[in-house]
Symmetry: C2
């Protein structure tokens, strides 16, 4: 297993420079005061395609050789990786096919098509997206771009953590805690490589939706554990069924813990981000904020960075959050 | 009339450093592609208190001498200047009284109180906020902090433009156009000092709500013109009845033109910002974006920066925008 290291994150940062947005690192004044802590946010909803996923996808696709580029790419994703791959493919002049659950948020389906991808939908509960993607890959010779279990995807996502720690340093802040949402673990694995290299004492926490705590259980048991369900939470972006060997290994090595929040807590965090940060955050991207807001971790007196990982959310879901 | 200059904007930037947020300068990828232009946004909704107003208010209040600080401040505002003054006063340990229209957005009233200000409401159509503020000032000896017609307020707001032009330069971009919403003209006047000093060929446009085009008419006639009404548009933040001598003079010297948009166009721009930028923008803050989106100015082939000046908006109004 060829695991990425901090050097690979540094290399990814060079690779995506000029294409990805260097998202800001913002002090959450009201939240800091409310919780007697020093809290910063890293809003990846401001990233190209509205989610951190562009970082890894562009890093991966830009490494393809000319022959691979000609054959095109195929990816499966609930929507953010889909957009990341589709947008990167468009920039690089590569054709892309994206396999998406038929219940993906409409915005994600539409945006992926708008970036020029061919979209194929499937039934999240009864079909295997991996099998569909493999079949397309066999038929067309296209390169499969995994949503998290990939050397370049992980190191690409890690650039968000690299930026955050550097921005914290520029602001004279030594982070006690670094928190991100967790689906398959691509984001937090990559970020952990940068955070642990530059700031070894910073504790890293992941946050999952209640009932989808495969990563928490996997780290506890030491084996790759599965979620009983593939759908059923509002946090569509992070409903991965299980971690994979690479992310499982990196997370097991680097995470201080994994917390869980309910859908209602995620919706309330979305409303908080709307009201106080003036940011649009999607359900799955708000779970780390939700954990802090709902006291799942004691942050009193601590300096922490919360990653808001994306903002691709449909109107109906957003209105639900506003009603919280 | 002691008008601020570019040097005063530079001085204001030093004064607010470490207190105000250096807001990002973000490429609007989808909008650029849609309009065949290179479009950047300066999201002042991410500023402290959720609007650019903190810049000027902190610059003004931090210049008060010890005696003035003891006497406290009084300001009148529909809500964003209110929050800027209240938050600055809190940071500096000054007491503040804010005179606000009784129909101000609930969020603005509540936030102003939360920053520790004493809030006094008035009837926008039938009472004079200036008179109420003057009376308080007489009774209590407090210093009146105007919402735009002030040397330090104008130069403070100008730091948004200073940052934008510097950020454009860092990104290798020479702006053809710089656009902001216009109420009393504090923001665009201050910004114009920086933009014209650093990038003299950049054309500066203001945008007002239809029926509240006092600045457009004032520049055309050469006199200070009034709006027939004090309220009645959804763009509460920019319903100033007329410009004042300082802003009128600076705007007359520096603006290439003033455009107008309807309330519906502003709401549609709010939805666009929600969907594409993942930002919460209030009605009055979205008018420059609305002008670009609705073809009020030809931007084809141009490089431009649009200021999104604030994001303090109530749920009901935001839901209206989402339904556009």
């Amino acid at each position: 297993m060829n695991l990425p290291t901090f050097d690979d994150v540094l290399d990814a940062a060079k690779q995506i420079d000029g294409y990805a947005v260097k998202t800001p690192f913002l002090k959450a004044e009201d939240l800091s005061e409310k919780l007697d802590a020093e809290i910063y946010i890293k809003p990846e909803c401001l990233q190209r395609v509205g989610a951190f996923k562009f970082r890894g996808a562009f890093n991966r696709l830009s490494r393809l050789n000319d022959d691979e580029k000609k054959r095109g790419v195929v990816a499966y994703s609930s929507g953010n990786h889909a957009q990341g791959v589709a947008a990167s493919a468009k920039i690089l002049g590569i054709s892309s096919v994206i396999v998406m659950p038929e219940d993906s948020p409409k915005m994600k389906l539409q945006n992926t098509k708008n970036y020029g991808a061919e979209v194929i939908t499937y039934d999240r509960e009864n079909e295997s997206r991996e099998k569909i993607a493999d079949k397309i890959s066999e038929e067309r010779g296209s390169v499969v771009v995994p949503s998290f279990e990939d050397f370049y995807i992980i190191s690409g996502q890690g650039t968000a953590g690299l930026e955050a720690v550097k921005q914290a340093e520029e602001a004279g802040v030594k982070l006690d805690l670094f928190m991100t949402p967790v689906g398959g673990g691509g984001l937090i694995s990559g970020c952990s490589l940068a955070v642990k290299a530059l700031s070894p004492d910073t504790e890293i926490y992941g946050v999952e939706p209640e009932g989808f705590d495969d990563v928490r259980r996997s780290i506890e048991s030491g084996n790759i554990e599965h979620n009983p369900r593939a759908g059923g939470s509002i946090c569509d972006a992070i409903l991965t069924v299980h971690p994979e060997p690479m992310t499982h290994k990196i997370m097991s090595d680097n995470l201080a813990g994994v917390l869980t929040v309910t859908d209602d807590e995620a919706l309330a965090a979305m409303k908080y981000a709307w009201e106080k940060f003036k940011l649009v955050v999607e359900p799955g991207a708000s779970v780390a904020l939700a954990a802090v807001l709902h006291g799942k971790i004691d942050v009193k007196g601590k300096k922490l960075c919360i990653v808001l990982s994306g903002g691709n959310v449909d109107e109906e879901t957003f209105k639900k959050a506003l009603e919280k």
